[in-house]
Subunit: 120 residues, 2 copies
DNA sequence: TCATTATTTCAACTTGTGTTGTATTATCAA
DNA sequence: TTGATAATACAACACAAGTTGAAATAATGA
């Protein structure tokens, strides 16, 4: 993962409103939700929601597909697993057993959907 | 994990400078670094670094211990694992195999240092 | 075609964040 | 006590982000 990607993810989820949207879509899984459904569930004005959906989508946290005049949004969950791999990579100077359960260095990269690299 | 904790973590790491500081300390592990050492490594004015160290510490991402007139900072790595547990908890309406490797629902909570809850 | 619905774009305002220099607190060594 | 060093607190400025209402775009159904 590139540093700019990690920053984009953190920026996106640093808003309580966007965090609500993302977590709602994580729960919905592959089914996703259309924009209006999200707006009514979370009681957000459509104008404002559109602003935040755009931010989340540009950060890669959501994907969107058109369905007639609806826009259906889905959470991109593997990106979160890439993120923690990026953060805990090289932890403790290559000795993650100092800070994490012993298998962390093998299991966390396993969850990542892309090869682990320092990515600075 | 509480929602406000998650937001504090995301806010903290949404700055490229703070992300550099955190990742540097993750690599150092238990050894940590004193503030001046971080400042010279990353070429940040001490005044500015102090501002960001305070933000990271208040978010719980760093811990600090006094050593004479030095302040030694350490990364709180388990907090990151709690965070991803918080985010992927209840994913896909309780069927994480739809979006993650099949063992995700058991392994990710295992890494968490605190019990998993919806924590809204 | 024409009215309706879903969503986004735009402009304006308000608020919050990041950076810097100066001043302050606290510790150490002589 | 005095001078030097490590780090933080404070104030000021520039810049970016969040919210809202009105208008625009685009697809649907009568």
């Amino acid at each position: 993962m590139e540093k700019k990607t990690a920053i984009a993810v953190f920026e996106s989820l640093s808003s309580g409103l966007r965090l609500d949207v993302y977590r709602l879509l994580v729960k919905k899984g592959m089914e996703g939700m259309v924009a209006g459904e999200i707006a009514s569930t979370l009681h957000i004005p459509p104008t404002n929601l559109s602003f935040h959906l755009k931010a989340l989508t540009q950060a890669g946290l959501l994907s969107v597909a058109q369905e007639g005049r609806f826009q259906r949004y889905q959470a991109n969950i593997p990106l979160m697993l890439d993120l923690i791999a990026y953060l805990t990579n090289e932890c403790c100077a290559g000795h993650p057993e100092q800070c994490l359960p012993q298998c962390a260095d093998t299991v966390i990269p396993f969850f990542s959907s892309t090869p682990v690299s320092s990515g600075r």
